[in-house]
């Protein structure tokens, strides 16, 4: 994890946070959304119709008449504790359902945007 970094030329300060990326089948979208809504991350992004290959084979994203079998990707940024809660909620899910999650270090400029909500 990198420390706060000062760039003399821009004067922007980067603050370290954690990022989680989650890919699940479309039918699990409500579950993950609820989990993120109840966590302390301040927001998240959803990509629908994600394409890719996983353990169970290939999943093509762009389906005209099927919103259920497509893949959905979420990503969210927050404090380590908030991300850990999300990981705790997803770990049991992936014992039964297909899907993946990745947690990594990231940095943001406007830390107040990612502060915990009350």
């Amino acid at each position: 994890m990198s420390d706060d970094t000062n760039h003399a030329d821009t004067q922007h300060t980067l603050h370290p946070l954690k990022k989680i990326e989650i890919i699940v089948r479309g039918e699990k979208e409500p579950f993950v959304k609820d989990l993120l809504d109840e966590s302390t991350v301040s927001g998240y992004t959803i990509h629908h119709n994600v394409t890719g290959r996983g353990e169970h084979g290939f999943h093509e994203g762009r389906l005209l008449f099927n919103d259920r079998d497509g893949l959905v990707m979420f990503f969210a940024v927050g404090q380590e504790e908030a991300i850990q809660t999300i990981v705790d909620g997803l770990t049991p899910l992936f014992e039964k359902s297909s899907g993946v999650m990745f947690v990594s270090d990231t940095q943001v400029v406007r830390l107040d945007k990612f502060q915990q909500e009350d």
């Binding site: 996983g54 008449f65 099927n66 919103d67 705790d88 909620g89 997803l90 049991p92 014992e95």
Partner: protein
């Protein structure tokens, strides 16, 4: 012991996989009751489901005996399948053995006090407008509302006040789960969710995707259900973690071998005969009448019922028919005229993207005003009647005074349903309904209006219009040869006093009639800008082609065309001819269908057959207005030329497709991932409702009661029944009408194209790999040879009539699984 809420929720999510979603009656959607098991091979899945729900996974011996005696199972095929398992006894002996094995299986489940108490409160909480006196505090959620009233329930011991119960959902879980490690939570949840799969299936639907006003006003989730159930179990001394919940059902070795073999032999027999018929049709040269420009082309839903009427329309003259998903590719929510109700009108696997309202067309404003005046009067009358019926003081005097009138009305409905139906029609002629003066709002609302509307955008953007119109013609492989009249024909049933009406309406429209979607696509296709855009994309619509919308009444086979009577867009004589031929096709189709409906109608009198179907459509005591999709067995993807002239007995979904106009396979990909999956849902629902109606169906209509305006129960309580009623599946107590076969998909396309699509769509490939349905390809690049997909990948050629074993096809590249 503090528990991690997110972990509990994830364990519940996993456990809920075993419960299929259950839609409310108004939007009854066919779905596989074992949807959560589709990631497993069929044979293992039905065994596991049998352990959880007590349901049978294969047809019973009576059903096999009927098929055997009717000659539906080829002796040669059966003998070969049996021999592969080393079984050499005669089929009759094996049927007797299956009879003996089945004896005593249908034990009546024990009455569980826990279930009785819980279903009482579930029915009260989930009520969607049936109860005159609703349960209090529902806005607080199921657990909180139940906790408030539980002290008044004499069946729950030791609860004198709400504070005797855990204060919150989390505390309820903590109180019950504290003595169990996390590893045991999931089996506990599975046990308690599958104890009432009907109610939990409904909660799953309502809490996950439904987004209904009822859910917003009275929230419930499976977590709240489990909090109440586990607390109740604790108080009532019922088991929290019964003996067998240490682990989920495992793969046993006592699989029912004989029924499995018989089912496969039956399926292969059906497939072989169908493919033989198709081969014969291929060898018949097209007649000269097929060469010219047809008078009209009619596009029907892929629904199996369309096959019958299409065949009879084609026999009337120069008509062509096509098959396309009955929501006509428009993922919309429909708001009928004069109501606030917003109805989803697209398949269960598609989310609506647009809202379509019905608005009076300007030239018909006066007609709309007249209708509105009478509608307001009728509404006031209905409200007054409801008040009088439900008001404690008024009800006695009301019954006294009005009993004679209601008695006479009841007698008339029972003794003369057809007469009342004609009266209804006369009233409709006198005061035409909204369909005669409304048009769908296909255009995007101006920004000012759009802001005022909630939810989905009203109307369609120009790009969306072109997208849906192009998708329709591309998927059907129809890029030229347009007739002067093209009719998009949705379908709906006509049946009074029938909680299962939605199951007879269009499955691709979420259990609603498909007419509104047909009107939207017709309106789009009539727009000059859309036609111009389509021509630029290579879809050559002539200037003189007019698109109309219509609706096929599947109970009577009548087809209504939605045409402005004051300003018809088609020449009157052409319209008259079309209507006359549709009327003649109705008589022929009705004659064919009444033969299967246990009637004594004289087959030589088509008018009598039509009258019989009209009686069924009007009779409030009729338990079988029509057969719905009973009999469905195959899903054929290919041009109509493949099946034209063939009597498929209303058993095939027909989706038009032309492999030659779909080089990159996009159209086929959308058919296989959309309509074909919906076909599999419908087929599995009919299959399981037939093989075990008590576990996966809904029993006899005679003893059903509607609860909460959302579902039915048998008798006066218990679990919600989830599947189809007996009268939709069986001809009588002994004989099934629906033959429970897994869906056979037949696609005319190059094998490598189909293979590439399976490679890109693991979810679809799994349905074939796990044998939830079968796949046969008719490969036009190999002289239309039939090749069969092998579970796990690879292809087999069809066994030749004189061969006893299958041979490898030339193009049998194995697909990694």
């Amino acid at each position: 012991m503090p528990i991690d809420r997110s972990v509990v929720r994830a364990r519940i999510e996993n456990a809920a996989e075993y419960v299929g979603p259950l839609w409310p009656l108004q939007t009854f959607n066919a779905a596989n009751p074992l949807l959560g098991f589709e990631d497993q091979p069929f044979d293992r899945a039905v065994q596991k489901a049998g352990q959880l729900f007590g349901g049978r996974g294969y047809p019973g011996p009576t059903v096999f005996r009927q098929a055997w005696e009717n000659g539906e199972i080829d002796a040669d095929v059966l003998t070969r399948h049996l021999a592969e398992h080393g079984i050499t006894e005669r089929p009759e002996v094996l049927l007797d053995r299956m009879d003996a094995d089945a004896a005593g299986r249908d034990a009546v489940p024990a009455d569980q006090p826990l279930d009785r108490v819980l279903t009482k409160w579930l029915a009260a909480f989930l009520d969607q407008g049936q109860a005159a006196w609703p349960m209090p505090n529902r806005a607080d959620g199921f657990y909180a509302a139940w906790r408030t009233v539980a002290p008044y329930d004499g069946d729950i011991p030791g609860v004198d006040r709400p504070s005797d119960l855990p204060g919150t959902v989390v505390e309820a879980f903590e109180a019950v789960l504290e003595s169990y490690p996390e590893a045991r939570w999931e089996p506990i949840f599975v046990h308690h969710l599958t104890a009432l799969p009907g109610w939990t299936g409904f909660i799953k639907w309502r809490s996950r995707r439904a987004d209904t006003a009822w859910q917003a006003a009275h929230p419930i989730s499976l977590t709240e259900y489990l909090a109440v159930r586990l607390t109740l179990a604790d108080r009532m001394g019922a088991a929290i973690a019964p003996d067998r919940t240490d682990e989920l059902p495992t793969n046993g070795t006592d699989q029912p071998v004989l029924p499995r073999i018989w089912l496969r032999a039956w399926e292969e027999s059906y497939r072989t005969r169908l493919l033989d018929d198709l081969r014969q049709t291929q060898q018949t040269p097209p007649s000269a009448a097929d060469a010219g420009r047809p008078d009209a082309q009619l596009v029907f839903c892929i629904d199996t019922r369309s096959e019958v009427i299409r065949r009879h329309i084609e026999q009337q003259g120069p008509y062509e028919t096509h098959g396309y998903a009955g929501f006509f590719g428009v993922p919309m929510q429909h708001q009928p005229y004069g109501t606030e109700a917003r109805v989803k009108s697209c398949p269960p696997i598609v989310d609506p993207k647009h809202r379509i309202l019905e608005r009076p067309a300007e030239p018909h404003r006066a007609q709309a005003d007249r209708y509105d005046w009478w509608a307001r009067l009728q509404k006031a009358g209905t409200t007054l009647l409801k008040t009088l019926k439900k008001n404690v003081a008024a009800v006695f005097g009301f019954v006294e005074g009005s009993g004679g009138f209601f008695g006479a009305a009841m007698a008339a409905r029972t003794l003369a349903p057809s007469g009342l139906s004609r009266l209804d029609e006369a009233l409709d002629d006198w005061l035409p309904g909204p369909a005669s003066f409304c048009e769908p709002t296909v255009d995007r609302a101006p920004p000012a209006d759009a802001e005022a509307e909630e939810g989905l955008p009203v109307g369609l953007a120009d790009e969306a219009k072109v997208l849906y119109a192009e998708a329709a013609f591309r998927l059907m492989g129809w890029t030229d040869s347009f007739a002067p009249v093209v009719v998009f024909t949705g379908h709906g049933s006509q049946t009074p006093n029938n909680p299962y009406k939605a199951s007879l309406d269009c499955g691709a429209c979420a259990g609603n009639p498909g007419g509104p979607n047909a009107r939207v696509l017709a309106a789009i296709c009539n727009e000059d800008a859309v036609q111009e855009a389509l021509r630029e994309r290579g879809i050559a619509i002539p200037d003189d082609t007019v698109f109309l919308a219509g609706q096929h009444n599947t109970t009577t086979d009548e087809i209504t065309l939605f045409v402005d009577a004051d300003d018809p867009p088609v020449a009157p004589d052409a319209l008259d001819r079309l209507r006359r031929d549709l009327h003649a096709a109705q008589a022929d189709a009705a004659t064919e269908r009444v033969r299967t409906l246990n009637t004594s109608v004289d087959e030589g009198r088509p008018a009598a057959a039509v009258r019989e179907t009209e009686r069924r459509a009007a009779d409030w005591a009729e338990t079988r207005p029509e057969w719905g999709l009973a009999g469905n067995a195959a899903f054929i993807v290919g041009p109509r030329a493949l099946t034209r002239g063939l009597d498929l007995d209303g058993r095939c979904f027909l989706h038009s497709y032309d492999w030659a106009t779909d080089d990159d396979g996009t159209a086929l990909e959308n058919i296989m991932t959309g309509p074909l999956v919906v076909g599999e849902w419908i087929n599995t629902q009919y299959y399981f409702s037939t093989v075990d109606n008590a576990a996966y169906g809904s029993g006899s209509k005679v003893t059903q009661n509607v609860v909460g305006k959302l579902g039915v129960v048998q008798g006066n309580g218990g679990d919600l029944m989830s599947g189809l009623p007996l009268q939709s599946l069986k001809a009588d107590d002994e004989h099934v009408h629906h033959r429970p076969l897994r869906l056979m998909a037949l696609i005319q396309a190059p094998t490598d194209r189909v293979e590439a699509i399976l490679d890109r769509h693991a979810a679809v490939a799994h349905l074939f790999d796990h044998e939830w349905m079968h796949l046969t390809v008719m490969d036009p690049e190999q002289d239309d040879a039939f090749v069969h997909y092998q579970p796990g990948g690879g292809w087999h050629a069809r066994p030749a009539p004189d061969a006893s074993t299958a041979t490898r096809a030339p193009a049998s590249a194995g697909r990694p699984s």
